[in-house]
């Protein structure tokens, strides 16, 4: 069963005084592959950039580079795409009910096709480093010989249950220790925490940035995080591949999720980052995301 979504992601900055130059890097275009197919994708920037380029980054994500050298007080970036999503549950089925230790030990197996990825995502990264405390938290779900699917679903539920979803309680610079200590944050913090738990016990985990369907079909609840860009994590189930897990909504990420990028943590895939030159401050930042199913 597949669904096609139209994704519109609009970001607008307004500045108090003229910005002489803006440079920005965008992770706003959906990936192709891994259970989804990106039919079209484009970025519109206002004012028109003096330079714009797209490329694939180290992780295969699509990145946009833009530079503006005319004075401006407003910058708007709108990414629009059509993405066909399918069922993402295949790896779960493939891995079957095997114990989670198999996924951990696979990292050390030189025959594993995605070995370099497995190693890279099991290592600490700038924003997410494992610790004995996180390992302790994780091991309550990852009991000996428990099936990977059960264990990770349990971890996901516990994060959902133990942590308070509170918009505005953290920022992109809030350290993970603080999130853990206060047991509150937003989707990005929960994804980071989940990754930290998994890495602490030797499992490869990556950060996924993307979207959720904004307005669900009648009778189904609206999901948290649907009105902005969303984030979750993904765990490597040995040779079966990656399984996406959304602790914010306590579920496996399925066909209602659109992936833009993945990386070791938020730092690798920030939707929009940049450098500007101005005397004044940023007056406002508005983000508006729309994910609508279009009739196939």
């Amino acid at each position: 069963m597949s669904t096609t979504y139209r994704v519109t992601h609009r970001t607008e900055y307004r500045y108090e005084s003229d910005v002489s130059d803006s440079y920005a890097q965008l992770h706003l275009l959906p990936r192709d592959g891994d259970g989804q197919h990106c039919l079209t994708a484009e970025v519109a920037v206002e004012p028109a950039p003096g330079d714009y380029r797209e490329r694939a980054d180290y992780f295969g994500n699509r990145v946009g580079y833009l530079a503006i050298h005319e004075p401006h007080r407003r910058l708007s970036v709108t990414a629009t795409s059509l993405v066909e999503t399918g069922d993402r549950a295949a790896p779960v089925t493939l891995f079957g009910g095997r114990p989670w230790e198999d996924a951990r030990d696979a990292v050390r197996d030189p025959a594993l096709p995605a070995r370099l990825d497995a190693v890279q995502f099991a290592l600490d990264s700038a924003l997410v480093a494992g610790s004995p405390a996180y390992a302790g938290y994780a091991l309550r779900s990852f009991t000996p010989r428990r099936s990977l699917l059960e264990a990770v679903t349990d971890l996901c539920s516990r994060i959902h249950h133990d942590f308070d979803y509170r918009p505005g309680s953290t920022s992109v610079t809030t350290p993970l220790e603080e999130v853990f200590a206060n047991r509150r944050g937003v989707c990005q913090d929960f994804a980071h925490f989940g990754i930290a738990c998994l890495r602490s016990i030797g499992l490869p985990a990556r950060y996924v940035s993307g979207y959720l369907e904004t307005d669900p079909p009648p009778g189904r609840p609206k999901l948290i995080g649907a009105d902005g860009s969303h984030a979750w994590f993904s765990i490597l189930a040995g040779e079966a591949g990656w399984v996406d897990v959304d602790p914010t909504n306590d579920q496996l990420a399925g066909g209602r999720y659109v992936v833009t990028a993945y990386g070791r943590d938020y730092g690798d895939v920030a939707p929009l980052s940049g450098v500007i030159y101005t005397e004044g401050r940023t007056e406002s930042l508005q983000v508006r995301v729309d994910v609508v199913a279009v009739p196939g």
């Binding site: 330079d51 580079y65 009105d227 980052s273 450098v275 030159y277 406002s284 930042l285 508006r288």
Partner: protein, 854 residues
């Protein structure tokens, strides 16, 4: 062969190799000449030569700044006068080994940013590379043109007790030291001219030629005459001296991140009023700071878009961004295997025995022998540095063991090496000190050229660690030539003639701005010093006396001092009376307090800041003066018993240095663009200071006696008293004084003379626009015309209350025109960068300010 021991007290250290003496205590063959000569010279003479070396170093302004951003002057660079000697046979082996190592690391680097075959095939455990902060994933697949991806390479090499060379660490980020090596050679060859000439030492010039050629060749394809710049973090970096030294030795502009900008995917230098293309960046800024867009977001030292420009191949940055992945000590454990695989043979120049704890076997070995090893984190960025197991208590060892066990792949264990010793001069004679050689390689053809020699550093006293930060002493390194070398200068034989950059068109606009302010601050400092001097003199004459005109003149001068320096409240305003009657404290403050804006010390600090920022623009003699100014300003604050006498004497010394600086500016500098801006800065500042002084002293008529004293003081403070007396042979009178100070084009201190010079300076700055006259030229012309039309006879007349409104208005008008001229220079020629900020996106759905769809 001589058998004398150089100084009778010299005894090699037990258990380590001695560079100079063999096991029997005799000088080694290649040391025979030098050790004989040292013995002949004797201790006293050697100490004298050491002082001479220190003097030369001061003169060249070589400092090692260990404290960034502090107002303390740089720490002096320490150089031992006794060089280290390497035999031609030893060197040959070392050179071959270094070239091989550079070639090997080059292939490793190429693979890590390219195919990553070494990781895929398990020749290198992926954890070592993928977890290292030096691996910049942003720079994946970016290549330099040509065969070398590793541009400059340095190795710290020690000798083990058998005399065998061992690499202690590999340096690939932005290896520093070859400028210091060249400076060491320059100093030592002057301190021991005969000895150096007779020793047949390999010259260093060819290495710098190779470097220059390599920089030209690494430019993007199709660029015939590439523009190269040296990128520095700024004047307060610990090795800033070397950055400027390299730039001026190689003849490339020294730039900071803010001097560059990325447009259209290419790099440009902000030159005067326009952008000029840049093709090669020799970087001395650590990679992660080089681009706030893709690397460290808050770095103010980089250029946003630089990574993108390298990705598009429009610029070559060397060393490549990401080369520091090679600085990982864990790599050392795998180099023999990699060498066999990549170069088909054993590694000739070995590393210090290294065990990477990520491997089970190696970890066991390390943990079993913790107390006997040196433990190092694999990342240099990690807060922890090398730990000597032998120095730890049992508890500390247990703690370390736990840390290693919890993240084994982040650690290596290395065998401690009892490093070889080199004879080093102390006050008591020569002493053996543990030594390390930093050797350098740069591309030549499809291989590498090694600097014959390098920078030897010896530990300070019993210190085990040898690093410039921990007070190491440097040494020149003499590699003996097997046959006499042809003498070649650095600039000779450098291949195809490369057209020089016209000094009248090209200068980073920040450099021009610093030169302008250097001129202004130098002139301002002179003006303050002169006026304070005059005030002190008058104070000695009249303070506490009952000479009413004298006291009145003194008070007028004190008020003028506050007005001209704008160091309010000072002697002006409500509470001024107390300070006017007892001005000592306020005067002293104005001279010595470097936090006091408008004061002398503050002004000289600002001057020094400008000088350090344009090191590459100034002649080498300048550093003699800058160094003494730096010390004098510190001394100003020293303890004072008799404030006035001491301060007057110190002021005298500051004045001498300022005059010397002025003299160098007019006699020893090429009249290039930088000089033009410095001179323009001087001229405009002198004019403004003069107008401010006159405005504060002569616009109100006082009693004849008071005025006479006051005018005489003004003439003294403007360095015109002697000319005045010779010409007018009378007491100072206002009209004649104004003629001399304002209109006399033959008086170098007059306003008319200064404005003519300023006009010449501004006219020589190239115009990049169509307009016939730039704004600052128009404004200056207006001021000059107003001055020429001035009727001093009419201006000096005063009303019944003694006021001279005409004169006041005239001074105000000129001051206004010239201030606007200065502003226009600033607006027209200097880059006005707005503050840099990070543009932060919305953090996930939670912190977005967005509304809900529809």
């Amino acid at each position: 062969m001589t058998t004398t021991v150089p100084t009778p007290s010299y005894r090699p250290l037990e258990g380590s190799y001695d560079e100079m003496l063999d096991e029997a205590g005799r000088p080694r063959e290649h040391w025979a000449h030098l050790s004989g000569a040292l013995t002949e010279l004797g201790l006293e003479e050697l100490i004298r030569r050491r002082q001479e070396a220190a003097r030369l170093i001061d003169q060249d302004g070589v400092v090692y700044n260990a404290y960034e951003g502090s107002s303390r002057p740089g720490r002096r660079w320490l150089l031992d006068p006794v060089p280290t000697v390497v035999s031609s046979r030893d060197w040959e082996a070392l050179e071959t080994g270094l070239i091989e190592r550079a070639e090997l690391l080059n292939l490793v680097l190429e693979d890590l940013y390219g195919e990553r075959e070494l990781l895929r095939r398990g020749l290198l455990p992926p954890e070592i590379v993928l977890g290292h902060p030096g691996l910049l994933r942003q720079c994946d697949q970016i290549r330099l043109p040509g065969p070398q991806q590793l541009f400059s390479y340095a190795a710290d090499i020690g000798r083990d007790p058998d005399g065998q060379p061992v690499v202690l660490s590999d340096r690939a980020q932005a290896p520093s030291g070859f400028g210091y090596a060249l400076e060491a050679r320059a100093v030592i060859s002057r301190v021991f001219p005969t000895l150096y000439r007779d020793a047949q030492v390999h010259r260093l010039a060819p290495f710098f030629r190779s470097l220059r050629v390599a920089l030209q060749r690494v430019a993007p394809a199709g660029i015939e005459d590439p523009r190269v710049v040296v990128l520095t973090p700024g004047p307060w970096n610990e090795t800033a001296f070397e950055h400027a030294f390299l730039a001026s030795t190689l003849g490339y502009p020294l730039v900071e991140g803010a001097d560059l900008t990325v447009r259209g995917g290419a790099v440009w230098m902000r030159s005067l009023g326009r952008l000029e293309p840049v093709h090669v960046v020799l970087r001395r800024v650590d990679a992660s700071f080089c681009d706030p867009l893709e690397l460290r977001p808050y770095s103010q030292l980089g250029v946003p878009g630089l990574v993108e420009a390298t990705r598009r191949g429009s610029v070559s940055v060397v060393n490549t961004l990401g080369a520091s992945v090679l600085e990982n000590p864990a790599l050392m454990a795998f180099l023999p295997r990699l060498c066999k695989h990549l170069l088909g043979g054993p590694l000739r120049l070995p590393s210090v025995p290294t065990w990477w704890c990520g491997e089970v076997q190696a970890r066991r070995q390390v943990l079993a022998n913790l107390a006997g090893l040196v433990l190092r984190p694999v990342s240099r960025e990690a807060a922890a540095t090398a730990v000597f197991g032998a120095e730890l208590s049992q508890r500390e060892l247990d703690d370390l063991r736990r840390r290693i066990e919890s993240s084994p792949s982040a650690w290596v264990g290395q065998a401690p090496i009892s490093l070889a010793c080199a004879p080093t001069l102390t006050d008591a004679g020569l002493e053996p000190r543990r030594s390390v050689l930093r050797a350098f390689a740069v591309p030549r053809g499809d291989s590498y050229a090694v600097m014959p020699g390098g920078l030897t550093r010896v530990a300070d006293g019993g210190n085990k660690r040898i690093s410039s930060q921990s007070g190491a002493i440097s040494k020149d390194t003499w590699v003996l030539a097997s046959e006499p070398e042809r003498l070649t200068g650095f600039w000779l034989e450098s291949g195809p003639a490369v057209e020089g950059i016209d000094p009248m068109t090209s200068i980073p606009s920040r450099a021009a701005e610093n030169m302008w302010w250097l001129g202004r601050y130098a002139e301002r400092a002179e003006a303050i010093t002169r006026l304070v001097r005059v005030v002190y003199e008058r104070r000695s004459d009249f303070q506490g006396s009952d000479n009413a005109p004298g006291i009145e003149a003194l008070r007028a001068l004190l008020v003028a001092l506050t007005r001209t320096t704008a160091a309010y409240p000072g002697f002006v305003g409500q509470d001024a009376e107390e300070r006017l009657s007892s001005p000592g404290r306020e005067l002293l403050d104005l001279v010595v307090d470097d936090q006091r804006s408008g004061g002398l010390a503050h002004c000289v600090r600002a001057l020094l800041g400008c000088a350090y920022a344009v090191r590459d623009q100034l002649s080498s003699d300048t550093w003699l003066v800058v160094g003494s100014l730096d010390r004098e300003i510190l001394e100003l604050r020293g303890p004072v018993h008799d404030p006035q006498a001491v301060v007057q004497e110190r002021l005298q010394r500051v004045m001498q240095s300022l005059l010397a600086l002025g003299g160098l500016g007019s006699e020893s500098m090429v009249r290039d663009l930088g000089w033009r801006f410095m001179d323009a800065g001087r001229r405009i500042e002198r004019a403004l200071q003069l107008l401010a002084l006159l405005r504060a002293t002569v616009t109100e008529a006082g009693g004849t006696a008071t005025d006479s004293l006051l005018f005489e003081s003004v003439l003294k403070a403007t360095e015109s008293i002697i000319t005045y007396r010779r010409r007018y042979r009378s007491h100072a009178q206002l009209e004649t004084m104004l003629d001399l100070l304002l209109l006399d084009e033959g008086n170098p201190r007059s306003l008319a003379y200064g404005l003519a010079r300023l006009s010449a300076d501004l006219d020589s700055i190239p115009a990049h626009s169509e307009r016939r006259m730039r704004e600052e030229q128009q404004l200056l012309l207006r001021a000059t015309t107003a001055l020429r039309l001035a009727d001093t006879g009419a201006l000096v007349s005063h009303d019944a209350r003694g006021a001279r409104p005409g004169l006041e208005a005239f001074f105000d008008e000129l001051h206004e025109q010239l201030s606007r001229t200065a502003d226009a220079v600033d607006r027209t020629h200097f880059a006005h960068l707005l503050p840099q900020w990070s543009l932060v996106g919305a953090a996930g759905s939670g912190s977005s300010h967005g509304g809900i769809a529809r």
